[in-house]
Each structure stands twice: as structure tokens, then as C-alpha cells.
Symmetry: C2
Subunit: 596 residues, 2 copies
């Protein structure tokens, strides 16, 4: 059932050659000791764990799914999931990028990022269990009381307990302001919470001793809408005060959803029937606290699609080299065989290279963002921290939406390489497509991401974050503009940079007249911005590759060819997107709803 | 579980106003009597049958799938399928567009086409059973002996017996020249056939008394490759000579495939263990005969995605009007409600209009092609028949590939309108996406279609079919170029026409040097050609709508808005595609296979 080999060579290229992480981490006291040896050792060990333990459970977990025992109100995960999680905890993987104060290993986010790519390539559905726990860890660490941190963080860091985020209700997903779950205060400072949540990933399962639910609810007399939402910690089992678990809290799984994919993850309807909880942060400020979790989750979703893109690519590549079908149009390439391997056909290569370029671009982008998070968290200079934080804020919706849209395209192309066999479950390719589809929806649909980028992060900010990032690009273009070998990369990069500036101003002007112009332009705009970032990163990677193209290591030749493919075949999407974004709101808004 | 209402009003617009079928059919003696009343009556009845009988089985059939009894070697279709098929046969639907000589109703293909759209909207998996039978009918009618026709056609026409096409083998799909199934001649003129076929849609089932398999195989001493393939008729039960069935023929289902979608259709591995068959046409000319079937099937696959696009659109529209979430950016539109219906949001409209425009464009295109088939088959003037046949040949790969790619996009956008609910099986939207995915693969992958279009139908033909179609477009542009109201449609149409001409010549020149240039350009080229056709048809439809936009029938306002959306938001894809097609083969072929 297919294969997964962690792309360590490309990860090392991104970390050591493109980002120069060792140098960068030296600036951060917390990570100054994290050298190339440590990084490479973690990559090697992570590769082993993910490909040997998790990948073999991916297809079987999809076919089996989760089991809900309605009577016992329990959920059993697919065969092998629980045991794999035990190995994960024992291997200390949950603690990798956590604070040593709570038992973490204190490694940088940028390294954890590469490990998460491997986890997601191996098994997205499984990875969601620890992935959500890590989000809960970050939220509690930022907004919890000292006592909450002391009680819960070590358990999340070790992986003994897992976490969830309980936001969605049947009548509200995007519009959390409508939520109805109620929290009533108790005399002891705790709260009693009642309501129904849906789409709770990893909401109930058998993999950990306890589950910490982060639940959005309303306190009495809360203001209407999103300003009246509070965040609560609602453990499945109340802590016994000695590091163990006590009473079962009435937060139960009412049903698990039948979904298109990620069958190995239990997507639960959760009923809170007077469950006991503790508030995190201030009443009515719950969304602020939850945003820490959501931002982490958005980056995590981008990683999911990067993982799927890579593994789908790898399997399509193996098939394309193996499958014999038709002769090359330019003459037989394997005349000794009954037909040529299909990798000789230009369009098969187009499909493969689409996935390859999307994976490599996403790897560069997510690693870059992860490193900026390390800088935001740990750089001694406040100015640098702020700048890094601004970049993370700007790039987060791009990571989430651009990479997940690309993942949908890439997994589908990889499946297409298999012809009819791609549609058959046995080969495993159609699962990647089904799994990839959710990533465009959850943690804020890609439309929501695009509004966040264009509306919140760019226009409301008067374009200042974008301008700063654009200055880096302009500096790179100027620096390399006279290098003839670089012109095939620098020219389109510079051109797109100018077009984005112009487009942004144009939409900003139109938005003064009509706010719907923002909504009408946002989705193509985000993809243009994504291509600008990819163009910038591919140009930088091409520069490194050009310098080393004559080395014995053929890796650089491949990198250069991938960059050329990117500019020749994927970058042209910007010509479409800019036209769409500029076409304005009227072609969307003219038609009365009744006339659709 | 959703809804389906046949889009009769738009079908009538296409048939009566856009194509003026009544007038057109008067030129064809066989159909001269088919007037608007007959057409409208069939549409009404077809709408009832498909929405009341087939649509309710669509979701349940997907969840249940087919059952293979390994011992008994039988396949049982999902609950209700068999009974629905009985109603279909009793209603005479199988006979709709069949020759009265064999019991058919002799109605035109263009009307059958609309009925097939309804069938596919209601239930693609179910429709494949009669759909394949109709293909077998056409193949036998064209290439069968008089005795074969007499024995089998009435049974296919009535629907008592169904048909299949058995092409693919484990080691060959696209490359049928590699196939290994063997046919040995018997003394009585029959053949004994042995081999293994895979991916046989409707290969075994319980819906009809008998199944007629059209099987590709090799006769002794056949030339290698595709010039050594013969076509055989292999019935599941041998006919008893009196219109009934006799002995069971050893062609058995070995397994049914687990697939991504179309679960209601039995996709079988078929084992022929010395099965008795009769040759259709001449030995070693089997592919020619099968092409009749395959061309019909390719158009049929386009219809499948049109059907899915329409039904996905309808359900997304209902949801978008009903679901309340967030306020319009340009001010509350339903201030009396807790939030606005999501159809107020520009990007939700973009998704809806994408599906709507793709459905309406595909409806115009497939109906146009169907009418050309009627003209090809029945026009008294040989010249007209040939011209119509040329257009059908040119447009068939566009119908297959362009509409199915669009269907994948459209069903996915329609699903996205539902947010998280789209990913849940219960709502039915994810099924449309899964079902739509196969249409890009079977009956020749979309890559194969694009090579057929650019290589075979255009370059090998020295562009003559394309030129003739282009002349119609140029005439339309000239005729309407001075009409100011039409300029928003005619200008981009004329522009694209010129670009296609230029692009075609450019690729043709490059192909002289390197045949891989054809393969490298073909896929984006086909989509450019698809947009040229859609632009032409939307411009024509806009013209009709402009003339009637002040009528009380708001339909024309909606049509005009859809055409404007098409040119504003979908047509810009051509800017990307042309750049991709022109970027040439080198960005695909440069990388050694080992360096991927």
C-alpha cells in the first residue's frame, strides 16, 4: 500500500541552505545550541517513526474508521492507532517543541515543523490527535492561570492527556458570535457548562487517559455576538489534584460524523450536560484567547496539505516510473519493453512536477514562517520580535489557504497519474484527495482566510505589513536584477511584486465605495499573494541551486528544474487571478438572489 | 437528503431559443415531426421519472454500494436499483432515441441528451447501467451483422438486456495495443474467449435478464499492437434462438472494486474462461468498431459531469439562501434575522455562479453536439452530414475533458458553500465530488482527450475542422461587432478566436521539431478551446437574453448575468492557459527521470 520516505534532503536544503537556521537560531538564546547535528538527528528519527509506525496505519485507518459505542458513550480509534500513540508519547515526540519548564524538550518551532510535515505525510487523521493537543498547549500556556498551567501543561507536554477545540455548533461555524452554549458560575470559581458542539475533531477517543476540551460558551448577561464569548477548559475527567484523573465530567460524544475523508479521526458531536469547567482568561474575551489556538491550527492545516502533497507526489512518481503504457511521442524510450514508462509523457511530468513544486514551495514557506515564530517568541530585540510577528500574521492565511488549495490540486493530479487505478481505494491515492479536501474548510474556510488576509491583515493595516515584506522582495530583485542567469526568475518576481502593489491599491480604493469589493476580490487576491511568496522563495532557492548546479550532488539540478517548472507552468495562474480580482463585485452581486 | 428539480426552463431555452431545434429537425426527414409539444412533453415526463424515482436512490446507493456473492458469482445492486430499472424499461425510456426498426421511439439524439442530463443529475451510478447499454446498441447497430442486429438490438432497445464494454486489462488501459485476452475460432463461426478484464462498469448485476459484453481480444496470429485487436459480442447467457436466454456463458465477475465514488455501479473484474462469443466486424479491426461505442461514451461522460454540476449547484443554492451566517460587508441584508443568508456574501456567489455558468455552458455545448449528431445521422445532404460529423469529432474531446474538469471544480465549489457540512456524507455534497472525479479518468483520461483534440483532430487534420468552426465564430463576431450592447461579449470572443489561431500555428510549428511539444501543450490547449466554444455560446445566449431582458420573464436577466459572470470570472483562465501552453516542452522534459 504505497510508500513514504521522508524528504530529508529537501528539508535539509530548506533549513540549512535556504533559511540558514543554525545561524538564525544562534540569535535566539533559547535555541542557540540547536546545531545542525541536533536538527539532522531529529529529522532522521522522525523519518523512522513516521514512515515505520504511522504510515502503515494510514490506509487501514481510512477503511476502518472510528467506532462509537452509543451505550458506553465511548469512541474506539482504528486498529493500531492507540499503540502508535503510546510509542509517540514514549518517544517524547509530543514534547519536542514544548517549554522545558513543563517537561518539554525546548526545540525550535522550525524543527517541529519538519516533523509535522512527516507526521501529516504519514497519516493526517492520526496526526490530528496530537496536533490539537499542541494547539491546546499553546493556548493554555499563553492564557491559563499559573495553577491551570501547573495542572495541565505537563500532561499535554508528555502527551498523556490530549486536547480539543470545541467551537462549532449546528447553527454556527464561521459566525461564532451566534453560539448558544451556556456557562453558569459556581461558588467555587468553576463553571457549569451546557450546550451542543459539532465537528469536534478528536472529541472522544481511546488514545489518551484524559481529554482537555477548550470550549467556547456564553456567561450570563454576556453581550450579543462575538464580544460575548468566553473560553473554558472542560476536562473529560476532572483532575484528582495528584496528577491523576478523578470524576467523569458530563461531556459526552453524541455521535461521530460520517465524512468524506480523515476517517481515522473521530469527528464528534459533543454534548455538554452541566459539565464542569474553568474559565481561561477573562469573561467575554474568549475569542482572543482562542485565536492563539486557531492561528496555530491554521498553520497546522497548511502543514497537513503539504504532507499530503508530498506523499501523493512520491507515490505517483513510483507509479510513473513503473507503469508501462504507450510510446513517447518523440520516439521509444524503452524499446526493450512492451511500452515506455509513463514518466516519458510530457503531461504525466506536468502532473508530477505540479505536485513536486507545490510541495517544495510549501516546505520553504512553512519553514520560513516557523522560523519567524521562533524569532517572534525568542528574539532578544523587541523590534525584531514585532517584525517577525507581523510576518507570521501576514503569512498565516496564505499558509492555510494557498497550501490547502494547492494540496487539493496536487493530490488530484497525483491520483490522475494512476489513471483508473487512482480511483480504486486499494492504491491509496484517492484517500489523499479525500483527506486533502477538509483542509480547505476547517479552521476557517479558505474564503475566511482570504478575507483575513486582504481585509484585516492588509487593508485595515494600510498595507504596512505587506509593504515591509515587499521591501525584502524589492531588495532581492535589485540585488539580483543584473545577474543574467537569474533573470528568468527575477523578472517575473519583480513584475508580480509591482502588480500586487497596484492591485492592492486598486481594491483599497474600490473598497471605500463598496465593502463588497473586498469580498469579491479576496479569494483570487490571496492566491496572487501566495504566488508572490512562492516566486520570491523559488527565486532564492534557484539562486542557491544555480551556484551549485555543477556539483556532483544532482539535487541542485532538480531544484533548478523545479523552479523553472514553477515559473513556466504555475506562476502563469497569476495572469488569471489578477483579471478575476480586478473584474470587481458587479459580476457577482448583480443577480437578485431570487433569480439564481 | 437534498433535492433535484430538472432545469426544464433552461433546457427549453437551449433547445428552442438557442438551437431552434424545431426548425433544425424539420430538415431531417426522420425527425421532421418532432415538434415543441413532443419535446416539452418528454422533458416533463423525464423530469418526473428522474427526480421521483432515481434521485431518492442516489445517496442510499452510495452508502450501500454493490454486493458481490463470491460463491454464487452474482452481484446485487443497491436497494431500489432493480425496481427503478423495471420502471425505466416499462416507461419505454431505453427506447427513446432508438431506431423504430428495432422497437425504438425514433426521437432525436438532442432530446435524449436532455433526458440524460436529468438521469445523471439524479443518479450517475444508476445511469451508467442503461448508458452503457445504449453505447452497445449504437456499436452493434453500426457494425453488427443482420443476424446480430435481429437477435440483440430489440433486447437492448427495450432495455430487457443491458450491455458493457470490456476493454481494460490489469496491465493496459490507455494502451489497448498491449491487451492479452485471446479469441480462438470455433467451427460454427463462433469464438472461444479467455482472459481477464478489469474496471468493467456494470459488468455484473441483477437489473436485467441478460448482459451483452463487448469484449476486445486478439485472434491467433493477430499483428502486435492496436492493429491486432478484434471485437466480440459475449453474452452472459447465450440467446436461446427464441428471444429468451439459454446456457450461462463462462464470463464471471471475479471481484468488485472498492472505489472513491459511483458506489452504486458495479465495477467488476471480469474473468472469461473460454466464453463463447461472436465477432463484430472484421478481425483485427476491433478498435474501429469500438470507437463508435467510445465516442458515444465520451459524450456520455461529459453529460455525467453536466448532470452532477447542475444538481450540486441546485443544492448549494438552496443552502446558501437558507443558512444564516455573518453580516454582509456592505450592511445587513436581513436585519430581522440573527445573521444574513450566506448568499449575500460575494465569494459564496462566486462559487454558486461558477457552478451555474459551467452547467449552462455545458448544457448549450452538449445540446449543440447532440443536434449535430442528429444532422450527421439524418440530414439528406451528404455535405451537411459530413460537416456535422466533423464538428462532432472536433467537439467530442472538449465535451469529455472540459466539462468533466469543470464538473470537478463546480462540485467542489458547491460543496464548499456548505462549509463543514459539505464534508459530511449526510448532506450529499461530497458524493457529487467523489462521483465527478471518475469522469476525468474513464473513457480515455482527459490527457488522452487533449492529445486526441490537438494531435489527431487539429494538427493531423491541418486545422481544417477547427478552421471551419472558427469561421462560424468570425461570422458571428463580424455580425455583432458593431452592436455596442454586445461588445462586452464579442470583444473577448473575437480576441480569443485570434489567440487560438495563433497558438495552434505556433504549436504546430514547434511540433515539427519535437513531437513532445504537442504533449506538453495539449492539456492547457484543450481548455483554451473549451473556453472558445463556451465564449461563442455564451455570447449567442447573451444576444438572445439582451433582446428579451425587459420581458416579464426574469429568466433572461439571469441568463445575461450568468454570461457576464462567465466573461468576468471564468474566461480569464485563458490568460493562464495560453501562457502554460506556450511555455513549451522544456520545463517538463528537462529533468532526468532519476532526478525527480
Amino acid at each position: 500500500m504505497g510508500q513514504y520516505v521522508a524528504p530529508i534532503r529537501d528539508m535539509q536544503f530548506v533549513l540549512h541552505e535556504f533559511l540558514k537556521v543554525e545561524e538564525q537560531l544562534k540569535e535566539l538564546p533559547a535555541h542557540a545550541e540547536t546545531d545542525a547535528d541536533i536538527i539532522n538527528a531529529v529529522l532522521e528519527e522522525g523519518a523512522k517513526f513516521t514512515s515505520e509506525v504511522l504510515f502503515p496505519l494510514n490506509h487501514s485507518g481510512d477503511r476502518e474508521g472510528c467506532h462509537h459505542d452509543v451505550e458506553a458513550k465511548t469512541v474506539t480509534t482504528p486498529k493500531g492507532y492507540k499503540e502508535a500513540y503510546k510509542q509517540y508519547v514514549e518517544g517524547g515526540w509530543a514534547a519536542l517543541a514544548c517549554d522545558p519548564e513543563y517537561g518539554g524538550q525546548g526545540l525550535p518551532v522550525v524543527l517541529n515543523n519538519s516533523f509535522y510535515e512527516m507526521l501529516n505525510s504519514s497519516n493526517q487523521a492520526w496526526t490530528m490527535y496530537p496536533g490539537l493537543s499542541h494547539g491546546a498547549y499553546e493556548c493554555l500556556k499563553e492564557h491559563g492561570t499559573d495553577e491551570q498551567k501547573k495542572t495541565y501543561l505537563p500532561k499535554l507536554v508528555s502527551g498523556e492527556w490530549t486536547g480539543t477545540m470545541c467551537l462549532t455548533e449546528p447553527h454556527c461555524g464561521t459566525d461564532l458570535g451566534l453560539l448558544r452554549t451556556k456557562a453558569l458560575p459556581n461558588d467555587d470559581g468553576s463553571w457549569t457548562i451546557t450546550g451542543n458542539k459539532i465537528f469536534i475533531s478528536a472529541g472522544e477517543h481511546d488514545m489518551s487517559e484524559n481529554i482537555l476540551h477548550l470550549v467556547l460558551a456564553r456567561v450570563p448577561d454576556a453581550p450579543e455576538g462575538s464580544k460575548g464569548i468566553s473560553l473554558f477548559l472542560v476536562p473529560k475527567f476532572l483532575p484528582d489534584g495528584n496528577g491523576g484523573i478523578g470524576e467523569r465530567n458530563p461531556i459526552f460524544c453524541g455521535a461521530i460524523e460520517e465524512k468524506m475523508g480523515i476517517h481515522g479521526n473521530s469527528t464528534c458531536q459533543m454534548n455538554l450536560d452541566g459539565a464542569k469547567g474553568w474559565i481561561i482568561g477573562q469573561p467575554n474575551k474568549g475569542l482572543n484567547a482562542m485565536f492563539v489556538f486557531m492561528n496555530a491550527a491554521r498553520l497546522g492545516v497548511g502543514m497537513q496539505s503539504l504532507g499530503l502533497t508530498e506523499v501523493a507526489y512520491q507515490n505517483a512518481l513510483v507509479y510513473a516510473k513503473d507503469r508501462l503504457q504507450m510510446r513517447s511521442l518523440s520516439g521509444a524510450k524503452a524499446p526493450d519493453k512492451p511500452a515506455d514508462p509513463i514518466i516519458v509523457h510530457p503531461d504525466v511530468r506536468r502532473m508530477l512536477l505540479t505536485a513536486k513544486a507545490f510541495a517544495e514551495g510549501a516546505r520553504a514557506l512553512t519553514s520560513y514562517v516557523a522560523l519567524q515564530i521562533d524569532r517572534e517568541l525568542n528574539h532578544p530585540d523587541e523590534e525584531v520580535r514585532k517584525e517577525a510577528g507581523d510576518e507570521v500574521a501576514l503569512l498565516t492565511p496564505i499558509v492555510k489557504a494557498f497550501i490547502t488549495d494547492n494540496g487539493w490540486i496536487a493530490t488530484s493530479e497525483a491520483m490522475q497519474v494512476f489513471g483508473g487505478h487512482g480511483y480504486i481505494a486499494e492504491w491509496g491515492m484517492e484517500q489523499y484527495v479525500r483527506d486533502a479536501r477538509i483542509n480547505m474548510i476547517y479552521e476557517g474556510t479558505n474564503t475566511v482566510q482570504s478575507l483575513d488576509l486582504l481585509g484585516r491583515k492588509i487593508l485595515m493595516d494600510n498595507g504596512s505589513k505587506l509593504r515591509k515584506f515587499g521591501e525584502k522582495i524589492r531588495a532581492f530583485v535589485e540585488e539580483n536584477g543584473t545577474d543574467e542567469a537569474m533573470s528568468e526568475f527575477v523578472t517575473p518576481l519583480g513584475d508580480l511584486g509591482e502588480k500586487v502593489t497596484k492591485l492592492t491599491m486598486e481594491i483599497g480604493m474600490k473598497a471605500f465605495q463598496n465593502q463588497d469589493e473586498v469580498g469579491a476580490a479576496a479569494v483570487p487576491y490571496l492566491r496572487v499573494a501566495g504566488h508572490l511568496v512562492f516566486s520570491y522563495f523559488f527565486a532564492q532557492m534557484a539562486k542557491i541551486a544555480l551556484e551549485k548546479q555543477d556539483s556532483d550532488d544532482k539535487f541542485y539540478k532538480a531544484k533548478l528544474a523545479t523552479a523553472r517548472f514553477y515559473f513556466g507552468r504555475l506562476y502563469p495562474e497569476t495572469a488569471m487571478l489578477i483579471r478575476q480580482a480586478r473584474s470587481g463585485a458587479s459580476n457577482l452581486m448583480a443577480l437578485d438572489a431570487d433569480l439564481f
